[in-house]
Amino acid sequence: MKRTTWFVFLLLLSFSCLDQPDCFQLNNNIVGVSFRVIGTGDPDTVGVFGVHLGGTDSVFLKNTLLTRTGLPLNYKFDQTEIIFERPEQNDTLLLGYSVGTQFVSEDCGARYILSDIDLLKHTFDSVRIVSRSPGRSAQNNIEIFRCPGTGVMNIAFRQLTVSATGVRSSTLIPVYLNSITPDFSAVPLYENSRTASVYLPLDTTDTNTMLAFSFTGETEPRELFLSYNKVYTERYKACGEQIFLSAMKIDNDADFDSVSFVTDADGIPITTVLDPPGTMMQIYRCPVTNLAGIDFMQQTSPTRVVRDTVVVKNLSVSFPATVLYPNDTLRSVNIPLDPSSNSTTVTFEFDTGETKTITLTYTRTNTVLFNRCDEQTLFSNLQATSNDFDSVMVSNNSLSSIPVTNIEIIQ
């Protein structure tokens, strides 16, 4: 019995070490916010330019669509102001709460325990507290109800394309923007951004809006003129009488290749401003048909050729065009061909000081690919000659609006 005592003592002593708490995500300061539509209570999607939190200069959720999100509450104080920067207006949520502290362990230090969330102030149409306890990750704490607003529309940018087999289509493409400025506010939006679609405010105090698009690389902005009807109606009692914009028209889109409304399932253009603001309008760019794709290759053995990387100091073509790829490390390039001639000479100036040329000859055919795009030139029967490169091979002798590899330069 006595030996058993010692044995058990030593055995249990070996298991007497307490496990330490996990030090990850100790604070429960994340408040979950979800957006809902007044009337139906359905999940709502809200576009924000950013979310600002009182007590920090950081901007969260830049240029994002939100249905639900988690935001950190400031445990330095017992309240946090949350500002949602939206296209139509900025909205504020001021939350109060209790902050407790607790020492966790020697490894983890202290943690902050937040509780009893209270709504102190808000500028939204309606806000409901679902749960007063924030968590370590986003849960459902607060529901923000929004009266429908029709002062924001979504415009998508699309590139018209024609495949090698002649199939006409379009694809969503990101564009580089300096800014987009509505005439009624003169506040530039989407500054220095790259995006495939934008949320833009409309003037609800008037029946028309002009949007000035300043694209990167262009000196003058392109202007889009829109007009619409204003309808005053009380759709939801909680929201009172509101202005809804409908019967929109494109008054002037001459600065763009093509602009059109999105159509519904029945093929009817959507001219009523939607809420949530789904894509209502699309700006198309005519296909670029004169880009030839050139890949740089290296012959590593008599039977093996691999992709190569070259450093180009300068690259130019034999007709007025933008200087391409200055001081760049390249594996492939897209070269514009002269639509007014049957040949184009391309000059490569490498970092080694060498200058090499390649001459491309082709057949031009003028045709109308898209009604709005005027007559465009199709390039076929591409041939390449060069006295400077070891070998030049044409892998695809027709150009399409979707750049492919047409020529392989082998060194």
Binding site: M1, K2, T5, V8, F9, L12, L13, S16, L18, P21, G55, T56, S58, P72, N74, Y75, K76, S98, V99, G100, T101, Q102, F103, V104, S105, E106, G109, A110, I113
Partner: protein, 232 residues
């Protein structure tokens, strides 16, 4: 909770089994059966040893029990103090506690009164703690905060098991394993307790404890003997 249910079931099972297996005495001196035969006083060696290997801890614990037939009234009293000094936080905690309860001995036939027991305790603690924070938060900047709890109370329950073995004359040794649960504290400020003296860390709803004790037993009276029934 599942573990608690298992231990509770085991407690009631063994109590019933042992009760059924106890031999019926022909005659028993019922009058003296439940009078104490001795009182044990002891000290928890592990708590004293902890002062050595845990630099953040200071404390001690003393124990006592008295037998009432196979039932033992047990009392523990102790003092704990913890100090953690980190670059960003400083934490102090100190207080006293007691536990009181009953153990049931399942080695009723052991001539030396060695015992294997299962029992329960009710624990209470009075303690004070303080937390000072100075830290640079990556999002919120510099945070300085000082919070304290003064003379707050805690209570909890325990299920215990262990053995007591007579080593030499009046010297006894034994261990007690404790399953602690049901902790409640009465703090009102913004500092949540980290450690409750006698119970341990508060980040779990249940926790285990272990004591290894050395006792001195003082006899009170002689062990009662049984007399055979007269044959009619």
């Amino acid at each position: 909770m599942k573990l608690f249910n298992n231990i509770a079931l085991a407690f009631f099972f063994y109590t019933g089994v042992w009760a059924q297996q106890s031999p019926v005495a022909d005659t028993t001196d019922l009058q003296n059966k439940y009078l104490p035969t001795g009182i044990r006083f002891g000290v928890d060696v592990l708590t004293l040893a902890r002062n050595r290997y845990d630099k953040s801890f200071t404390g001690w614990e003393v124990n006592a029990d008295v037998d009432l037939s196979r039932y033992y009234l047990a009392v523990d009293y102790g003092y704990w103090a913890r100090t953690f000094d980190r670059e960003q936080e400083h934490y102090d905690n100190d207080g006293s506690y007691f536990r009181a309860g009953i153990d049931v001995n399942f080695l009723t036939k052991d001539a030396e009164k060695n015992m294997f027991f299962i029992g329960g305790r009710y624990g209470r603690s009075v303690f004070s703690e303080k937390l000072d924070i100075t830290t640079e938060d990556p999002l919120w900047g510099l945070i300085t905060r000082s919070s304290a709890n003064n003379h707050i109370q805690g209570r909890w329950f325990e299920l215990t098991t262990g053995i007591r073995v007579r080593m030499w004359k009046i010297i006894w040794m034994g261990y007690t394993a404790r399953f602690k649960f049901g902790l409640k504290t009465n703090e009102t400020g913004d500092l949540l307790p980290h450690d409750v003296p006698g119970f341990g860390r508060t980040d779990k709803e249940t926790t285990w404890g272990f004591n290894y004790q050395i006792f001195v037993r003082f006899p009170v009276r002689r062990q009662p003997t049984t007399q055979s029934a007269a044959t009619p």
